[in-house]
């Protein structure tokens, strides 16, 4: 059987020629297509950046950075409270998500169990994290709304002038009563937290606006009013009604968390936790096992090995991953919108732990959805500020990566 098979011996030279050149043409066309399509992404990015710059550059003023949102004075509206708000929310998010994420990654990578049921559990946790990474951020928003803002309503619902939940610390309640001197008030300490108002018909101990204790006098209508301003300032009409006011220290804390920046930050931490875990795990996996062996061989325990060898070696990767995750957190709008609401009228950053906050992406969403052209331009300008911040963060990540690559080569 030494004769060639027919398919090989009877090949038509013309056909082969044309087939080869057809295939070659095809390949060239495909290459052209690849280049063209790869260019599209560059073009899209350029168009995006240019159009936003053109739209927003005229609003890049000091007003934008230093003022707050205003419905009336649109021209001078700014994003200062949003910058501070983003800082607070992302700060909380980082404080919660980084230790949790790195801790989980260390547990999953370095403390791998040997027993079979535990190994199964380990695999389950791993799969669970991969799935959490795929949960839409708005679902985390709803989780934050239910768990942090309302806490399933087990602590009661927070309502203005009715209920303020379980106040654990930092709250000082007192009744505020108008005195005879116009524009002046005195305060009476509140003892029963459920009694929202009192009626004053006899002299009581109280304090003035500065907090100094005073004896509150009662003036019966019909009798002559005192004339001395100092006395008038601490005298109230008999039957005057005092309503509760609450003085909140910066550490004011209550349950449920309501629409506070704390709730926002915690929710955001849920969103970026899987990202940090996955990045840290990858980084730890990249640490050469021989280093771990060396450390264990010297009699170090697993934790000592992690602390002194694996974590330092994986730190650059963990930091890069964390910075990228924080970039995601800063730009994330949907969960914050769900937890903190879409209102943006705020003229300062949070005053206490339970204070509301506005973040930059929510402000951009709010402005972008409005009819007035001024707000649309402001939105573009705010986007430029946001992108610059993200750019700075990402450059930090790139610099770290670059430095590590250099030191390793």
């Amino acid at each position: 059987m030494s004769t060639l098979p027919k398919a090989l011996s009877e090949q038509d030279a013309d056909f082969q020629q044309s087939n080869a050149s057809r295939r070659q043409r095809m390949s060239v066309w495909f290459y052209g297509l690849c280049v063209a399509i790869a260019l599209i992404s560059v073009v899209v990015l350029v168009v995006l950046l240019v159009s936003i710059w053109v739209q927003g550059q005229s609003r890049l003023t000091a007003d934008l950075l230093m003022n707050s949102h205003s419905e009336l004075d649109i021209e001078r509206s700014g994003m200062w409270p949003a910058i501070i708000g983003s800082l607070f929310v992302c700060g909380v998010c980082a404080l919660v998500a980084l230790p949790l994420g790195v801790g989980t990654a260390v547990f999953l990578e370095e403390f791998k169990p040997k027993a079979k049921p535990l190994r199964w559990l380990h695999g389950f946790v791993q799969l669970n994290i991969a799935n959490l990474a795929g949960v839409p951020s708005i679902v985390y928003g709803l989780l934050g709304l239910t768990v942090f803002v309302y806490m399933f309503n087990i602590f009661g619902q927070i309502k203005v002038n009715e209920s303020s939940g379980w106040e654990l610390m930092g709250a000082n309640h007192k009744y505020q009563v108008l005195s005879l001197e116009t524009g002046n008030v005195v305060f009476v300490p509140q003892t029963d937290p459920d009694q929202r108002q009192i009626t004053i018909d006899q002299p009581v101990q109280g304090m003035d606006a500065a907090g100094d204790p005073i004896e509150i006098e009662v003036w019966q209508p019909g009798t002559p009013k005192p004339t001395d301003p100092a006395v008038r300032r601490r005298t109230v009409r008999s039957g005057a009604i005092g309503a509760t006011v609450t003085e909140k220290s910066w550490y004011y804390f209550r349950l449920p968390l309501d629409k506070s920046f704390l709730a926002g930050g915690l929710t955001l931490a849920l969103v970026i936790l899987p990202i940090i875990i996955i990045a840290s795990q990858e980084s730890l996996r990249g640490v050469s096992p021989s280093l771990r062996e060396a450390s264990m061989g010297l009699g170090a325990t697993t934790w000592q090995t992690v602390r002194d060898v694996s974590l330092p070696a994986a730190l650059p990767g963990i930091m890069t991953g964390s910075i990228l995750a924080m970039g995601r957190a800063i730009g994330e709008a949907a969960p914050i919108l769900v937890v903190l609401g879409a209102a943006v009228a705020k003229n300062a950053g949070p005053q206490n732990l339970m204070d509301n906050a506005v973040t930059m992406p929510v402000l951009i969403y709010n402005w972008a959805g409005r009819q007035q052209d001024e707000f649309k331009e402001l939105a573009a300008a705010a986007i430029i500020v946001l992108l610059v911040i993200l750019l700075l963060l990402n450059s930090a990540a790139i610099i770290i990566r670059h430095k590590v690559q250099q030191s390793q080569s």
Partner: protein, 315 residues
Amino acid sequence: MALPKALQNRDFRSTRVGMISERIIVVLLGLCALITVLITIGIIYMLVTQSAGFFRSDFVSLRGFLTDKEWTALQSQDLAKAQFGILPLLSGTLRVTLIAMLIALPLGLITAIYLSEFASSKIRSWLKPTLEVIAGVPTVVLGYFAILVISPSLQWASGGAFSTFNATSAGIAVGILCLPMVCSLSEDAMRAVPRSLREGAYGLGCTPFETSVKVVVPAALSGIVSAFLLAFSRAIGETMVVALAAGTLPTLTADPTRQAQTMTGFIVEMIKSESEYGTVQYFSLYAVAVSLFLITFAMTLLGQIVRRRFQESYQ
């Protein structure tokens, strides 16, 4: 050479302290890992209990929820007249997602082929960061881009056939958002295909086109399919783009030029309307969220399974 003092003393630390602190740390780290499980349980518990509040209402039935052709939770003031049929929201989500996939999948895949098979290292060093920057753009910015550029361009090109807010412009923006993800995951899968396979194909006289399309892509198929699934799930869950650009009217139609409120878009509108806690409208949030969660969860799980089960291992 005399033995150093430290070794003469043999003053070794007690190992018991180390062992106890080791235990404590293992427990602490284990608790961290446990929190991730608690989050999942929390999500499921929340969705079940809160949407139960919705389905328990007299004005809602599960059947109506799945088959009614109208969703008027926000529009009707009178609860008795409100219609709670998920189909219009689902149709909005699907329209936007399909358009997004029509953009992200081919463009992402071909860019990935280009990056992994043809691009010189110089072009890579430009193209990769470009894609990373696009991936890092906040979604609210892409939503703004959709109403600032894409939607007016569509209206101009079609002579006004598109309404101001429409499914297509939102879909295009979501597609841009998913493109880097499809691209980088597919590229990873293709780079994992060993050189020897490519060399084999070239050795048989394949052109670069045939090598990449007939050898590399099939070999990396599991990774590419899982990338597609993850992108799909990402597009379904995308919120800010559709909240800004897709409109607020739930419509049950296949017309991509009309408004299309999606599931996520509805959640945002509902939150903005600040419905009182505990009302049927409020709980309808969770019913929509359940649908959203189930779809994305199925997609991610499928993606995981495809990647693990059908992964060709080259050793």
